[in-house]
Amino acid sequence: MPLLEAITGKRLWRGVHVPEHKEDTERLPIRRMPFAPLLVIPLSQHNGAPSIPIVHEGQEVVRGEPIAKAAGFMSIPMHAPATGRVQRIALAPGARGELGLAIYLAPYLSASQEILYGAPRDIADMTPAEIVQAVQDTGVVGLGGAAFPTHVKLKVPEGRTIDTVVVNGCECEPYLTTDHRIMLEQSAQVLHGTRVAMKALGAPRAVIGVEDNKMDAVAALRQANGSATDITVESVPARYPQGAEKMLVKVLLNREVPSAGLPSEVGLAVFNVATLAQIGDLLPRRGGLIERVITIAGPGVKKPGNFLVALGTPLRWALEQAACTDRVSSVVLGGPMMGAAVGSLDVPVTKGVSGILVLEDDHGPAHHNYIHPCIKCAACVDVCPMHLNPSRLGLLARKERYEEMETDFHLMDCFECGCCSYVCPSQIPLVQYFRISKQMNRERKARA
């Protein structure tokens, strides 16, 4: 197969094979998690300007009702995840340890929690501009983890045309199985959302790429697609980070997104399957994004699963539903390769959280080990999907030559997938070096 892949150009990038650990949850259907006694809805859970609250303390809200409005085009509204009462609008801890304004909502325990807000509409006659507005009104952002407002990506940039919509069903991060379950259980919504995106962008075709460790999802999507030829479902080799949009478009269409550019420069728009499933579901009923599917898994979890969770559910509540072992050492939002560890369980589940990974003492990299000097073994060079030279970048970072890293060694092309740190036999925290280096460069430019 490798020879064939080399000829067909399907393995033109590098990456690593990471143990998948998906077997614990990939066969577990999505279950709804009970409402927490208090939901915390941060006003900035997306990329862009924070939303502006339109409710006041003590106000009663209905599940699905808007509670905050978008602050401009690069922003989104928020909707009440439950019927209840706004307790207060105050600061709340975020995943990165920061404090941000949030709406505290106490659900009514006796309420039926039916979605009473919204009304059906015919989306067949909508113009692209109307679709963009309608998607902004749903408050949907990239659910794969980037949390970039989806309606912004649905607007074709001036002077460009989009010929293909690429739908990302790779889910290459170990442990996570939410996209897998969504493709199986909500195939119709995924395809529905894909058609909405094609229409908004004027794209004549779409390709759904799914890693070949989820062939049941490929089959489900193909069956739902029927005989339609404008949407194709393709399997791609399971290899981390196949789910990075740059890697996916390379494998599916042999196109490269230019450095520091957007996929639209090469005629593409890329969306995650869960994002499109939400649009396919919400748009026809004027709904808002109030819940999402997350995987709770990892060695520290006794009852792992895929849960439909109300946004704003504190991690502590979510982890209680999944029962943790008594050796938990750290809690990570997202997967083990790119996820961020949190310092507090008061942090809520937000729109960009695809999973909660619970690690035990002896899991995770050997952090307590001594960091050896770089022995120039080139393992990092061989795995970097962007074809960078992490070895040299790491040495330069140690010498604080941040500017040279950017001008001569393409530092800004690093998207922090973690492959280099994963394989480094010297346990050098390369990705962390690069994060710091980027930040140092940003600060230097800001001073200039």
Binding site: V18, K246, V257, V332, M337, P373, I375, C377, A378, M386
Partner: protein
Amino acid sequence: MSSARVAERVLEVRTSPHAHNAMSVEKIMRNVVFALLPISAYAVWMFGISAFFLLVTTTLASLATESAACRMSGKRSSIGDYSAVITGLLLGLTLPPGLPLWMGALGAFIAVGPGKMVFGGLGFNVFNPALVGRAFLQAAFPVAITAYTPAKALGRFTEFIPSSLAWPFMKAAPVTEWMARVRVDGFTGATPLMLRKFDHIQTDPWSMFLGERAGSTGETAALLIFVCGLYLIIRKFMDWRVPAAMLLSAIAVAEAFHLADAARYPGPLFVLLSGGLVLGAMFMATDPVGSPVTPRGMWIYGILMGAMTVLIRFLGGLAEGVMYAILLGNAFSPLIDNLTQPKTYGERRKAVAK
């Protein structure tokens, strides 16, 4: 309830990635040592207790030098990473079995001291430390380091080669009389390269293949060295590109010479088996510290060293060229790295200057 304990626990906040493939410097180095052990054992079988004590001396001297250097610089001792063991073993394997032990110890000191620790230790040295030690000995003691003794000598497990036990800076006991006494018919004290270059005698390829020939302690058993190197490649402790490039380019250059003048220049098989080429290509050229990290760079580096080895042997004054070829490759490695930076994903053409 268990979930309550989660709330009580202090959470560790680490940076991603939260997983690692369990490869480590110690593991790589330990496996290189494992791969060198069969070669060392075979060397002792061929050359007896002199070889054994030479290997022990160079290894212990390497460890002692590394430990002392760490203590002097106030650093945590780095002998646990096994790299000093590798340097010591490799140095011993590249020296003639009858080399005075004190010279072996001195060579190991030079290898690890000025060759590695002065640069900052593992990862910072420019040249392969073992070869730095050997190059020093070659320059300082040109006679002793070319004084080879025959393999499979009689009584090699009970008697030292007389030169082994020479006192420092004293004239070594002559080995000619000893050699005449212990030499088995068909075995000589000159290496196949020397025999060809200076006496125009061709050595039987089969005995070279099995390592039953004179030569440096651990360089003779080409087949065994190849298999041990292959173990490291298959277990992914070593990159296959450098040895492949070096061996293939040596074969190609030798074949070109051989085709041009078969009477003067031996064929590729002889070139592969006669000296330290396989040991050098498998265990010294592959030292990651001195090699380029870019994929194209590795090929260029290997090709350069393979070609240089043959050119030194065929056109130079020395019988053997592997050591200088690798040291030269090490010297060129940073330059090769700079000139072969990979083209990145989505790279834009540099804007043309206005």
